[in-house]
């Protein structure tokens, strides 16, 4: 049972990591256009390098 002392903090840490990632994607506006994103993957324009982000697009 001593292993719990390691496993529980680890699982909580992973949970927090996931939450942090979610907050980051939300702040970056990744849920603003789900339909568009699923279609944009078919576009070959930005296959080499990503489109530069407009500055005022937070």
């Amino acid at each position: 049972m001593e292993v719990l002392a390691i496993l529980i903090p680890v699982s909580l840490f992973l949970g927090l990591l996931g939450l942090g990632a979610f907050v980051w994607t939300l702040r970056k506006g990744m849920y603003d256009d789900p339909d568009g994103d699923s279609q944009r993957i078919l576009d070959t324009r930005y296959d080499d390098k990503p489109k530069p982000m407009p500055k005022d697009d937070d």
Binding site: L26, P34, G36, Q39, D43, R45, P54
Partner: protein, 727 residues
């Protein structure tokens, strides 16, 4: 927005100063950010075409198409106008409408949406982590291990409830203060009470704690709220922000000097100048100038009316060919536009507030939750001889099991699914209750001009004319902004006709175009002016070499008009056509579309009266219209739809907006709303059945946290899946 006011004054330099200021203001303008609604986009190719095509446009910095909202945002250098972007999009093959980027409400709704999504995410992650610990407890963890797991769960659950539960606490507090009982009050009580009992149990090394149930309840309820919010936000952002057609300013003439003033500042007796293409800002009488005016939006008449000195004009009409000076007879509150607005307000207040199925279910169900669990508490106190802890535990178990998380999803899941499907077809639901009201409709009333027809004339007999007369007609028509001339020019261009070489082409405002062709005078315009016999149908007349030729026109049917009427009739709906246009034109269209019931020459109040009469006879009426003359009828009807090309006032008065040109989605929407209502009722039944089965289990004291969690997720998922079945 600032207006430049130039008043006559003693010093000419002072007059020039504001103009100079305006010029300087223009130079320092910030970059333009243009937002457009583009209803026809649907695929990766559309994104590519538009973004590539727009990026090549002069002055455009960056372009981004949002496919979910069907909205294009363009960042451009100052000076790039929305109209330039719209015409560019038109050439790319997409119809677009401007949105007002300055509105606060849009950023406000976006913020609200993100906030809800954040709470949903936090409760989701908390739920997963607590569930991991709970599974261990259910699998048989005992003693100190179980207590520790409960304690860690409590540490996650308490901040989660405090953060993610806020929307419910806020609403419940608001409702209680107003003396109302809604769903949020029992939900909040259940959340807080369950949390406290669970903490107490944890501290007492109890066997059952409901942390995962509390957080799961929040998660599913928030999911319902978020879906509901999304459906409404999409509609609101696109429908309300289509920018207004009405001009708030007018050009006033004082002692021969023109100045731009706010319409609100005009007084009776002022003289305003209305240029060709401009909209009448006020009611008045023409004191000089000759022109033709387009009354289609006010009265539904397709033909422009001749206007000269003495003719009475109403606010909202469009001046077509020549400049006019109008003496104001009524401005502001007394103008016909305002009287219309008053009629709309009266009609709207007469329409009783609609109670949705969800509200009816909630108001019936909300009191049962606390009553059941309080009853369970009292009975078990009596049965167990005063065992407070046992009775409280059972009360909490029944509270959490009766809590309506499937009920909270039942309506939003279906509405989201339905409005998403309709949005993809090109119909936008502005009002949350519109879908339910649409399902009850048994009579559909259509307006003619601009609704079933495009409101733009198309030449019908070009084949009967000699190439010479076509070439001359084109050369004359090209110079005019009159709708018939423009339609003629467009049609002749499409046929590959080249304009004839004419000399000294001039426009006689109110009459037509005149020019010299091979030494003889040619004219294109009104029948009496060119010396032709007027026909009964809409026509433009060409006088050339002693003979006259008539180019006849017909109003273009809106795409899908025949289908939509046939589709609605097939669904058993009664279809009416009510128009302000002359009987001949209305009857012709009614016969073409196979509509038996029609009425012509209807004034705005007549339309509303007809709808009220139909509704008094027990019918539920769907009104489809676009003009100012339809606004009263739109707000009087049970539910209403207007095309995106409609006037702002008409769009504001209607519950749904048709985004594309095609009107077919109206029939689909009526059909789909019925299916959606069936799904909603099925969902109510489903979540009801779960309660009927499991509430007794909780009341008899057999419910465990595992039960609660299982029932909650199964019922929520089955309700959501049922909503997704919607076709």
């Amino acid at each position: 927005m600032h207006s430049v006011t130039i008043r006559p004054s003693a010093c000419p330099a002072c007059d020039a100063a504001p103009a100079a200021e305006a010029l300087a203001g223009k130079a320092a303008l910030p970059d333009a950010r243009i937002l457009l609604s583009v209803p026809d986009v649907h695929c990766a190719a559309c994104i590519g075409t538009i973004e590539r095509g727009m990026a090549q446009m002069e002055g455009v910095r960056s372009v981004r198409l949002n496919l979910t909202l069907k909205r294009l945002s363009v960042d451009a250098k100052a000076g790039v106008e929305a109209s330039d972007v719209i015409s560019r999009l038109d050439r790319l093959g997409y119809e677009a409408h401007e949105l007002d980027p300055g509105t606060l409400s849009m950023t406000e709704t976006e913020k609200q949406g993100r906030e809800l999504l954040m709470r949903l995410g936090v409760s989701g992650f908390a739920m997963m982590n607590i569930m991991l610990l709970s599974v261990a407890v259910w699998a048989g963890a005992e003693g100190a291990t179980r207590d520790m797991f409960h304690l860690i769960s409590a540490l996650i659950a308490v901040p989660t409830v405090a953060f993610a539960g806020q929307p419910f606490f806020r609403n419940a507090w608001k409702a209680l203060r107003a003396g109302r009982m809604d769903m949020d009050a029992p939900i909040s009580v259940a959340l807080v009470l369950t949390l406290f009992i669970s903490i107490y149990e944890t501290l007492q090394s109890g066997e059952h704690a409901y942390f995962e149930a509390v957080v799961m309840l929040i998660f599913f309820l928030l999911a319902g709220r978020y879906l509901d919010f999304r459906a409404r936000a999409v509609a609101r952002s696109a429908a309300q922000e289509l920018s207004a057609l009405e001009v708030p300013r007018a050009v006033r003439l004082v002692d021969g000097v023109e100045s731009t003033v706010q319409v609100a500042d005009l007084a009776v007796g002022d003289v305003v100048v209305v240029r060709p293409g401009g909209r009448m800002p006020v009611d008045g009488v023409i004191i000089s100038g000759k022109s033709e005016i387009d009354r289609a939006l006010l009265t539904g008449e397709t033909l422009p009316v001749f206007a000269a000195q003495g003719v009475i004009v109403s606010a909202g009409e469009v001046n077509l060919t020549g400049p006019l000076q109008v003496r104001v007879t009524a401005a502001g509150k007394d103008s016909s536009l305002h009287r219309m607005a008053d009629l709309v307000a009266t009609a709207e207040s007469a329409r009783t507030r609609y109670t949705t199925a969800a509200e009816r279910a909630a108001s019936a169900y909300a009191p049962t939750i606390p009553i059941l669990s309080f009853g369970a508490f009292v009975v078990w106190m009596y049965l167990s001889g005063g065992d407070l802890r046992l009775s409280l535990n059972i009360a909490v178990a029944s509270l959490i099991i009766t809590c309506p998380c499937a009920l909270g999803l039942a309506v939003p899941a279906v509405v989201t699914s339905a409005s998403g499907k309709m949005f993809r077809k090109g119909l936008l639901i502005k009002d949350g209750t519109a879908l339910e009201r649409l399902a009850e409709v048994d009579t559909v009333v259509f307006d003619k001009t601009g609704t079933l027809t495009m409101g733009t004339p198309v030449p019908t007999n070009l084949d009967q004319h000699a190439p010479d007369s076509c070439a001359v007609a084109l050369a004359l028509a090209e110079g005019s902004s009159h709708p018939l001339a423009q339609a003629l020019a467009r049609a002749l261009h499409e046929r590959g006709v080249h304009p004839a070489a004419l000399d000294s082409v001039t426009e006689q405002p109110g009459y037509g175009m005149e020019g010299q062709w091979q030494g003889q005078r040619v004219r294109l315009g009104r029948a009496d002016w060119v010396g032709a016999d007027a026909r009964t149908t809409t026509a433009a007349y060409l006088a050339m070499g002693g003979a006259t030729h008539a180019f006849t026109f017909a109003d273009h049917l809106r795409p899908g008009a025949a289908d939509v009427v046939a589709g609605l009739q097939a669904q058993g709906k009664a279809v009416w056509l009510i128009s302000g246009d002359v009987p001949g034109a209305v009857q012709e269209l009614a016969q073409r579309l196979n509509i038996a019931d029609w009425q012509a020459g209807a004034l705005p109040q007549d339309k509303a009266d007809k709808i009220n009469a139909l509704q008094a006879a027990g019918h539920k009426v769907l009104m489809v219209g676009d003009g100012l003359n339809d606004t009263v009828a739109l707000s009087a009807a049970h539910v209403s739809i207007s095309p995106a090309s409609a006037l702002d006032a008409a769009r504001a008065a209607s519950d749904m907006v048709l985004l594309g040109r095609d009107i077919t989605p109206v029939a689909d929407a009526v059909r789909m709303s019925k299916t959606a209502m069936r799904r909603i009722r099925e969902n109510f039944w489903q979540s009801g059945i779960y309660n009927v089965i499991f509430v007794p289990v909780a009341l008899f004291g057999y419910a465990t946290p595992l039960w609660a969690a299982a029932i909650m997720s199964i019922s929520s998922i089955s309700v959501t899946l049922n909503a997704l079945r919607l076709k």
